[in-house]
């Protein structure tokens, strides 16, 4: 029997996101606690299969979805997805519990909790997806929920940051989609397992290089790698729980997950190796250097996150077993200490009213618990024993030293990693020193344990996991094995003996301390280097450029004179009509005319009505005459034996006259005087169009018998659609989809009318008369 735990976990998260707004309505900000419990329950459900996954038996669950096109909901739980899944759910639970105290007591938090839970569900779906199409759908969902979470406050600054983050990750998402499609075409299946087992044949496929480049663009944008990094610091306008969860612990790791996931396909190939390692390490060094210059703690953490993401990305790019294991363990360590630091900064911001280290001082004496939590997390970030950050950094150094590729790559990678780590140490010290040391200037206290509790737990996790790190061996080995597609074993411990990695760790601490002690000269030196942020400026330039192009394209139509718009449309129709007339082939002969005297009489009246409408000076007369013309056409329909059409025409004309009058009564009674030359021009256009229409009617109608489709509808209507009225059966049965589309358009048009009328009435006194002219 097939069990469905993995599906169940995902469904549980989906149900939670639907329930979150209701919970928030009932419990206010405390809704975070039941949600945290729900997250942990989902983690428990995943863990129920954890034993066999770690033992090397991945769980695959398939739920048919749209079987007719072979689309199924395939979920895959192996070591890698279990690792990320647990990270998402456990950090998510901490963030939810933190939100319950971070958010203000009053106010509506339904949207916030709903979106945050929906994000968690999407993120979980992303790492559990066993199908690249499914993976992409969840990937986009995380971008969309991130957009709403960043821009949730609705201020201009937030909207701008949200749009920027969404555009960057959105463009990356499109590239990823193209890349994944190429990949599935090359592999012959969208199923992740088939792709991962594609092997040499897939690597050598003609589409593989393009697929790889596109996938990497997606991963780099999502994980904020240079030069796409700039959206991440901007996104820090979001509330602290969002920054903690999305922009430090989980969403930005999606790119890392993706690159790790696809390692069996591309890992070890030269372009993959060099691109990811170099982009990652350049990002790591650049992010750390910018972080050193920040005064706002949150901005500092943002650039630190960019730097750490680069560090992990480079490890995944190295793609050897030790490197992948180091990437996993560093991801874990980073999620722990960075989530802690973000939460602590949120606490400081709430309690002290500032995040600027130039204004904060002496908090160690005032908020000893908060200071201790920060200290533990900062030490882990800096890579101090016995914290998890030390183990992960040492594993990372060893992995960089063992990087494959050209002889120069391993030393270069290790040197860049060392540089980034030294700066990380320095800004870690700076966070602590800036906020907690010095004389106390404010009257402050530690917040209630319920507020700092989640941060304390994540900080302690970094300590506990560091001390008992060898307990993680089986799990981390499985994660790296499943990422690599080959079994290996990792031996995690504090003390590996006197190895090169230990020397690098020692060097990090020594040089980092020196950089901190001499922070003034270092700061001055850094200030002289202009921070390269070409990404941001280039983005703004191309954004403005695109908007400019849009404006230029739209300018000819930016007019409320109907004639301007009509001219384009009619001109196009006339050109096409003329071309069709010139290119017409052999047409069947025109049948003998069947007109009767009565027809001619109606036509004569019709002509008179139209001529009158064209020549009248008052709007009401024009509307009435056009209406009369419409009624006369209805009479023609009756004479030609089309009662359906006649009925419709009569009703439409009636309503049109009334509705047009509704608009016209706001306008002056008489038309504005128009220059003679324009009248002649309009007449010329009208006569041309009329002639063309007549020619088209003459050429196209009555020259052939019943069409095949017509015959089919006539014969099939009674039996298949159960109706004798063929027109109606076509509308509601044979072509019901068309009709559905049409009524949707109608509905949108009605909404447009409502919106326009409402907007016109808002913000300024009601219009008097039409277009500024005196009222009629």
């Amino acid at each position: 029997m097939m069990t469905l735990e993995v599906t169940l976990a995902l469904l549980l998260m989906a149900a939670l996101s639907a329930a979150a707004p209701l919970l928030a309505r009932a419990l206010g900000r405390n809704a975070g606690y039941p949600l945290a419990a729900g997250f942990l329950a989902a983690a428990g459900v995943l863990l129920s299969r954890g034993g066999e996954v770690v033992a090397g038996a991945p769980v695959v669950e398939e739920v048919p979805w749209v079987p007719s096109i072979g689309l199924g909901l395939t979920l895959l739980l192996d070591g890698l997805s279990l690792f990320f899944g647990l990270l998402i759910l456990v950090v998510g639970a901490a963030v939810m519990a933190y939100s319950a105290r971070y958010l203000k007591e009053e106010g509506a938090h339904g949207r916030f909790y709903g979106m945050l839970t929906l994000f968690a569900a999407s993120m979980l779906g992303l790492v559990l997806a066993g199908d690249v199409v499914l993976l992409f759908v969840f990937w986009e969902l995380t971008s969309i929920t991130s957009f709403f979470l960043i821009g949730g406050g609705g201020s201009e600054r937030e909207s701008k940051a949200a749009v920027r983050a969404f555009l960057i990750t959105g463009i990356g998402g499109l590239a990823l989609f193209a890349g994944l499609l190429l990949l599935s075409v090359a592999a012959g299946s969208a199923d992740l397992r088939v792709i991962l087992e594609g092997g040499e044949a897939l690597r050598e496929h003609a589409l593989a290089p393009a697929a790889m480049a596109l996938v990497l663009v997606g991963a780099f944008t999502k994980s904020a790698q240079a030069p796409f990094h700039f959206w991440l610091p901007g996104a820090m306008v979001a509330p602290t729980p969002v920054s903690t969860y999305l922009h430090a612990a989980t969403m930005v790791k999606a790119g890392i997950y993706l690159v790790a996931r696809l390692t069996p396909v591309f890992g070890g190939t030269a372009p993959w190796l060099y691109t990811i390692v170099l982009v990652g390490l350049v990002t790591a060094v650049m992010g750390a250097a910018i972080a050193l210059k920040q005064h706002d703690l949150k901005a500092l953490l943002a650039y630190s996150t960019v730097s750490q993401l680069g560090f992990i990305m480079a490890l995944v790019g190295v793609g050897t077993f030790p490197a992948l294991a180091a990437a996993a363990i560093h991801t874990l360590a980073h999620a722990g200490y960075k989530a802690t630091l973000f939460m602590v900064v949120g606490i400081i911001d709430r309690e002290a009213g500032s995040r600027d280290i130039r204004r904060l001082s002496g908090l160690r004496k005032l908020m000893p618990v908060t200071a201790s939590i920060t200290g533990v997390a900062a030490l882990s970030m800096a890579g101090f024993p016995p914290l998890l950050g030390f183990v992960s950094k040492e594993e990372a150094f060893a992995a960089f030293l063992g990087a494959p590729g050209g002889d120069w790559l391993a030393p270069l990678a290790a040197a860049l990693a060392l540089g980034a780590s030294i700066m990380t140490f320095a800004y870690g010290a700076r966070i602590f020193d800036g906020a907690f040391e010095g004389p106390a200037t404010q009257r402050l206290f530690d917040p209630k344990p319920s507020f700092y509790g989640p941060a304390a737990l994540t900080a302690l996790a970094g300590l506990g996991l560091g001390i008992w790190v060898s307990r993680l061996d089986p799990f981390m080995s499985r994660v790296a094995s499943d990422a690599l597609g080959a079994v290996g074993h990792v031996d995690l411990r504090m003390w590996h003996g006197l190895e090169p990695a230990l020397a690098l760790s020692a060097l990090t601490i020594a040089a980092g301390t020196a950089a901190f002690v001499f922070r003034r000269p270092v700061g001055r030196a850094l200030a002289r280097i202009r921070t390269p942020v070409p990404g941001s400026a280039a983005f703004d330039r191309s954004y403005d450029g695109l908007v400019g192009i849009g404006k230029a394209v739209g300018r000819p139509f930016l007019s409320d004179a109907p004639a301007r718009h009509l001219l384009w449309v009619l001109g196009a129709v006339a050109t096409a009509g003329l071309a069709a007339w010139l290119a017409r082939g052999e047409v069947p002969p025109f049948p003998a005319p069947a007109a009767e005297p009565a027809d001619w009489a109606v036509l004569a009246l019709l002509g008179a009505a139209i001529l009158g409408a064209a020549r009248t000076h008052t709007r009401i007369a024009a509307v009435a005459l056009v209406g009369i013309a419409g009624f006369l056409v209805a009479v023609l329909y009756v004479l030609f034996g089309a009662p359906d059409l006649a009925l419709t025409q009569l009703l439409i004309e009636t309503l049109t006259v009334v509705l047009v009058v509704l608009v016209f009564r706001r306008l002056p009674q008489r038309f504005r005087a128009v220059a003679r030359i324009r009248q002649l021009g309009a007449a010329a256009v009208a006569v041309t169009m009329g002639t063309l229409a007549a020619l088209a009617t003459y050429t196209l109608t009555g020259r052939r018998g019943l069409s095949e489709a017509g015959a089919y509808f006539l014969s099939a209507a009674p039996d298949e659609a159960g109706g004798e009225n063929v027109v109606n059966t076509i509308l509601v049965d044979f072509r019901a989809l068309d009709t559905l589309g049409e009524i949707t358009v109608l509905a949108v048009a009605a909404l447009g009318v409502i919106a326009l009328v409402r907007l016109a009435g808002r913000g300024r006194p009601r219009r008097t008369g039409g277009g500024g002219e005196p009222p009629a």
Binding site: T654, L659, L731, V732, I743, A747, V753
Partner: protein, 139 residues
């Protein structure tokens, strides 16, 4: 705009138009009529109310928002399509139901009548929206 004569006419004519509209809707599958035309007749009744008693008259005649009607209409039409999927047919696939009604005999109904009702509601809502929003008393 309103006068006693128009108001009296509207009062007499409106029930007739409503019946006519219903009749056109029900018979539309076999004879001239159908949701669109029937809805236009109902729309004409709305306009008549407007001419007789202004926007207030329309509000009394159909005491709900145009957008509500719009939503219901679209829901009915798409719901009909989705119901087809639920019973194992295609999206928007039709069916013919026959039932034995005492005293009348066998009655045949096409399932697409439900779809037609959706069309009816949407078109009526559009007319209603235009009359209500453009018909507000101009200065």
């Amino acid at each position: 705009m309103s006068s006693l004569i128009v108001r009296a006419t509207a009062r007499g004519l409106t029930p007739v138009m409503a019946l006519l509209s219903l009749w056109l809707l029900l018979r539309g599958h076999d004879e001239p009529g159908g949701g669109f035309i029937a809805s236009l007749v109902a729309g004409a009744a709305v306009v008549l109310q407007y001419l007789a008693s202004g926007v207030e008259g329309v509000r009394r005649f159909l005491p709900f928002r145009a957008t509500t009607l719009l939503g219901i209409g679209l829901l009915v039409a798409t719901g009909f399509g989705l119901a087809g999927l639920l019973v194992g047919a295609e999206f928007l696939e039709g069916a013919i139901w026959t039932a034995e009604v005492p005293a009348i005999g066998e009655v045949k109904v096409a399932a697409s009548l439900i779809f037609d009702v959706g069309v009816y509601l949407v078109v009526l809502a559009v007319v209603m929206a235009i009359v209500r929003y453009l018909g507000e008393e101009a200065p």
